[in-house]
């Protein structure tokens, strides 16, 4: 790691103020991605602002037709929260599948979505569950939040404070994980809101996306077999030593089927 100055503000306002003061500051959530990045000297922030001691960033609340999860809520808290398990069980089960036990004990929702790793799990939920991302200054629709690989709609100096997820009628997440890293090679989140079906895909492309054909097919007929005619194109999908674009495209359909089946 390169040297940096460490800060531990006690409020969002203090954190925002600190962000404005330095040349190249970085926010530190649970650190499960940032610290490995720093250890490999792939980033060189001047200052690290640790969000771990800010009460207003924490906690899970049921509100306004859904759940509000503080940005600094750790994956394990989401996974084990009785509220989440009752209101949106698919979200709890998604959180339970992130990384490993120790990563879940540290990693946070805000850290995950702000990093916008193309193979992270949470982005699929944010888009599928019509979430609203709340920041220190505004609300951003989940649909507009992820703008590309490792890119979000956040402005410089903006801090995510919470995410509000809408409660679906039913939902499920199916993940095909990279056997080495355990990130998603393909993750598909299916959520049903009345007559609307959302099918979001993470891991397969540069950023989370909605599988329009699948959504249309499932809106007509919410059964796994309804996906037989629907597919996503391999064009533009990610390819690496673990999975070609063709294979990812295939897995999207398989995982979508499994998510639909899991919706019951």
């Amino acid at each position: 790691m390169y040297a940096f100055t460490y800060h531990r503000p006690k409020s969002v306002a203090d954190a925002v103020a600190l962000l404005g003061q330095f040349e190249d500051p970085k926010l530190l959530g649970g650190g499960q991605t940032l610290l490995p990045t720093l250890k490999q000297r792939l980033a060189r922030p001047s200052d690290l602002i640790d969000l771990g001691q800010i009460p207003e960033l924490q906690g899970i609340r049921e509100e306004a037709g859904g759940l509000t999860v503080g940005a600094f809520t750790r994956h394990a808290e989401v996974a084990h929260s009785e509220t989440v398990q009752r209101v949106i069980p698919a979200l709890a089960s998604l959180a339970e599948g992130i990384g490993d036990r120790q990563v879940r004990n540290m990693g946070t929702l805000g850290g995950s979505i702000c990093n916008a790793d193309p193979s992270a799990d949470y982005p699929a939920a944010v888009v599928a569950l019509k979430a609203t991302v709340r920041t220190d200054r505004r609300e951003i629709a989940g649909d507009d939040f992820f703008t590309g690989m490792f890119e979000t709609a956040l402005e410089p100096g903006e801090i995510v404070t919470a995410v509000h997820f809408r409660t679906p009628d039913k939902a499920a997440y199916a993940k095909f994980r990279n056997p080495a890293s355990r990130y998603a090679i393909v993750g598909v989140f299916v959520a049903v809101f009345g007559s609307e079906v959302r099918v979001t895909v993470t891991g397969a492309g540069p950023s989370v996306f909605r599988a329009d054909d699948m959504e249309a097919a499932l809106a007509q007929d919410f059964r796994a077999d309804a996906l037989n005619g629907a597919s996503v194109s391999a064009d533009g999908l990610n390819a690496d030593i673990h999975a070609s674009a063709d294979y990812r495209a295939h897995l999207v359909r398989v995982m979508a089927r499994r998510a639909v089946e899991a919706c019951g």
Binding site: Y2, Q40, P179, A180, S181, Y247, L251, V254
Partner: protein, 796 residues
């Protein structure tokens, strides 16, 4: 009454107390006053000329003590890392052996090749400064794969090694094989790749160099499986330090699997630099550095053909293999694809004629050397895949085809056509035990049940034999070894009856402190807590060859037995003197020294005390003391063998392979500690399963960059990837030529498992017409194989 801490008892490991409480002492746990930290500057290119190194800015960075380069080593006349094995090509010419300097001098030959070393007060300071060392590289085209490196016009890894060919070696009778093939009713053929692996002992390599100006003594503490070998190679060939001024210590070592046998450049650098900077110098690899610098394993490309008569009897085997050596010859690299591979190509079969050709090739990749099994898994995988293909093609049941061709137990000792003489083994018995363990006959029903759930199911065998207990020095020498391969031991009784055993073997997980102590407890009836096993320090132990090739018990244990024989002879003399009896009348019974036919007896404790308090010894006949040393050089290799059976279920939608059951039946000869032996098998199995399903070391074929350079991409098997195992062994075929009758168990699991898993995978996929799949059988590879082949049902 059986000794509860003697031979055959599952004594709980004595070393565990410290490991379980965080009190193990691994190399990186050791810190010395005044210690400095070394960080290497490594080549980012697979192949590049080094045209200049400017360390001025790095030297000005905080905490920096020195920046040293290959030129500095040249000035100090530091030598090349030696290779311990000489292979001759078919034409009689010696293998090409280009120099391998601890720090590259004019050219870097793989990504990770050391180019300079920074020594600083702290590790972070050294890392900071390492980025400031300006190296001018002129990038050169790289030869990355062994096949491409052999092509005409390929970039040359070493200017004076034409065609990158290190050696072109062969073994066996080509004419006899040709004649047999001419007669064959059926020939099974197979092209296969045994992919490159990264050993990945969980403790990264580390080295700590110290120099005592008062005595002129150098000390190297290092993560090694064989400290004396390092002392010899580094002292005599690299740094020119005589043995009496060089101490090498390998303390607790966190796994080796072969990768810590070799003498690595970093060991020489910290030893050399400690004297230069006048302070201790420590280097510890980060995992990403381990991926780039630990010797890799396997990496064979082979073509094999098996000739059979009309009844499926094997007539001849023909094999051509290209073995990747990497950029330089690692310590034992040339022996792996030759004498530890081709000599095992008979397997468990009485194939009368075998001919193997092996081309070893330099490439711009990390050196390749022994990794658990070392040559033997490659041989087993090739034979057992080929036999499976033969069974499928001839329609003979795969168990039956094997049975038909086994060397029968009655034929032992059996001389193979590829140099080895098996002493014992009952291969049919292994198979007989294994089949019911996996309910072989019930497979069809299980397959049908899988099919109902939309899954494919397959069952696969591997029968293996390995040559362990390496090695008879005269044989090894004749085959090109530049070392003897005996083992040493010293058994020292103390005056009050406790015992210290000094062994040349090295434990890095194998449990020697328990197993070896059981040998002493059994022999002399000494409570196990009164026996201490000392290993790993050249200043304490006699010259030893260390641990690899499943040799510790067969060779190191035999050395202890030999030393105990001497102790017993001496103890008898003392007992005879004490009991005023004739030496010939002293018998040893249940650890007591008894005058035959009387009730006069002494314990070894009584004798030990007298040995050190020799008030009335007849000193011209009887020396004081009870402390004996022995060296044991084996008469033959040992031949552990067994039968592994694996059953897999495959999800055709995703291509995911799940090992649903695995049974291993092994013949390790006599077993000293069943608990430890079973643990060795479990671990070996998962490394073999890892090769079959998960692990793959991948380089970019153009740039030579290592793509799988971390656990993000190199897939290590985890607890949820594998099942629990059924492990059995039998002891009725003990080794005939060592005093314990033991064969060795360290590598067996790895040797058999890969072939068993792949045979099961191919069996499951056979309904699609798949006849072979290269390892690892990753989900995508399996899915692609299914996609490529028209399903049999769909063709109807």
């Amino acid at each position: 009454m059986a000794n509860p801490t003697g031979i055959g008892a599952s004594v709980r490991r004595r070393e565990d107390a410290r490991f379980l409480t965080g009190r193990g002492t691994y190399t990186d746990d050791i810190n010395r006053p005044g210690q400095t930290h070394a960080v290497f500057v490594r080549s980012p290119y697979a192949h590049a000329r080094i045209t200049g190194i400017d360390a001025a800015e790095a030297m000005r960075a905080p905490g920096v003590i020195a920046v040293l380069t290959g030129a500095d080593m040249e000035t100090d006349k530091v030598g090349s890392l030696p290779c311990g094995w000489l292979i001759h090509s078919k034409d009689g010419s010696p293998m090409k052996e280009p120099p391998h300097f601890p720090i590259a001098r004019d050219r870097a030959r793989y990504v990770g090749d050391a180019v300079a070393v920074v020594i600083a007060e702290t590790r972070e300071q050294a890392k900071d400064a390492a980025e400031l060392v300006m190296v001018d590289y002129e990038e050169l085209p790289a030869a990355v794969t062994s096949l491409k490196a052999l092509e005409g016009g390929a970039p040359l890894v070493h200017d004076d090694v034409g065609g990158n060919l290190c050696f072109d070696w062969h073994l066996g009778d080509a004419a006899a094989v040709d004649a047999a093939f001419a007669q064959a009713a059926h020939v099974a053929k197979l092209d296969l790749v045994n992919q490159r692996l990264v050993p990945n002992a969980m403790e990264p390599r580390a080295a700590l160099g110290e120099y005592d100006r008062a005595t002129g003594e150098h000390t190297l503490t290092t993560t090694s499986q064989n400290p004396h070998v390092i002392r010899l190679l580094m002292g005599a060939f690299v740094l020119g330090i005589p043995e009496h001024k060089l101490r090498v210590v390998a303390p607790d070592v966190g796994g080796g699997f072969g990768s810590k046998i070799f003498h690595y450049g970093e060991e020489a650098v910290v030893t050399w630099a400690a004297k230069k900077v006048g302070r201790p110098v420590k280097w510890t690899a980060e995992r990403s550095e381990s991926f780039l610098t630990d010797a890799h394993g396997r990496d064979h490309v082979s073509h094999a053909e098996l000739a059979m008569d009309k009844d499926g009897n094997f007539l001849a085997l023909r094999v051509a293999t290209i073995a990747n050596m990497g950029a330089y010859l690692s310590t034992f690299a040339p022996s792996i694809p030759t004498y530890l591979y081709a000599t095992l190509l008979a397997g468990q079969y009485k194939t009368p004629a075998i001919y193997a050709e092996v081309k070893a090739v330099f490439t711009n990749t990390v050196p390749v050397d022994a990794y658990r099994g070392a040559g033997r898994p490659e041989a087993c995988y090739l034979i057992e895949r080929l036999v499976e293909v033969a069974a499928a093609e001839t329609g003979i049941d795969k168990a039956e085809l094997r049975r038909r061709n086994f060397v029968p137990a009655s034929a032992m000792p059996y001389q193979t056509p590829v140099a080895l003489q098996y002493d014992t083994g009952d291969f049919a018995k292994n198979l007989d035990i294994a089949l019911p363990l996996v309910d072989y006959d019930g497979f069809a029903a299980r397959k049908a049940e899988s099919a109902r759930r939309g899954k494919l199911r397959g069952i696969g065998f591997a029968t293996y034999i390995e040559a362990c207990g390496i090695a008879p020095s005269n044989v090894a020498g004749a085959l090109g070894a530049r070392a003897g391969l005996y083992e040493s031991a010293e058994v020292r009784f103390h005056p009050t009856g406790s015992v210290t055993v000094f062994t040349g073997s090295h434990s890095h997980g194998q449990g020697h402190e328990t197993t070896f102590a059981q040998l002493v407890s059994e022999r002399f009836g000494v409570p196990i807590e009164n026996v201490e096993i000392v290993h790993g320090d050249t200043s304490k132990i006699p010259f030893g060859m260390g641990t690899y090739g499943s040799r510790s018990l067969a060779v190191g244990g035999s050395a202890i037995v030999k030393a105990m024989d001497k102790v017993e002879r001496k103890a008898k003399k003392i007992a005879a003197h004490m009991l005023e009896a004739a030496e010939a009348d002293i018998e040893v019974k249940d650890g007591r020294f008894v005058v035959a036919g009387t009730d006069k007896a002494l314990t070894i404790g009584d004798i030990a005390l007298q040995a050190y308090v020799p008030h009335n010894f007849p000193l011209d006949e009887l020396e004081p003391g009870l402390d004996e040393q022995a060296f044991y050089d084996p008469k033959n290799f040992t031949y552990p063998n067994g039968c592994h059976v694996c059953e897999v279920e495959i999800d055709p939608d995703t291509g995911v392979v799940q090992v649903v059951s695995f049974a291993a039946v092994d013949d390790f000869g006599r077993v000293i500690n069943p608990l430890i032996v079973e643990g060795q098998v479990h671990g070996g199995l998962v490394q073999g399963i890892g090769q079959a399903l998960y692990e793959n070391c991948v380089y970019d074929e153009e740039s030579g960059q290592l793509i799988t350079g971390s656990y993000m991409d190199y897939c290590m098997p985890r607890a949820d990837d594998v099942p629990s195992f059924t492990v059995r062994y039998h002891e009725d075929q003990p080794c005939t030529h060592n005093p314990l009758g033991v064969k060795g168990c360290g590598e067996a699991g790895t040797i058999g498992a890969s072939a068993a898993v792949m045979n099961a995978v191919v069996h499951a996929l056979s309904e699609y017409g798949v006849t072979h799949l290269d390892m690892p059988a990753t989900p995508e590879r399996v899915w692609q194989a299914i996609r490529r082949h028209t399903p049999a049902q769909a063709a109807e």
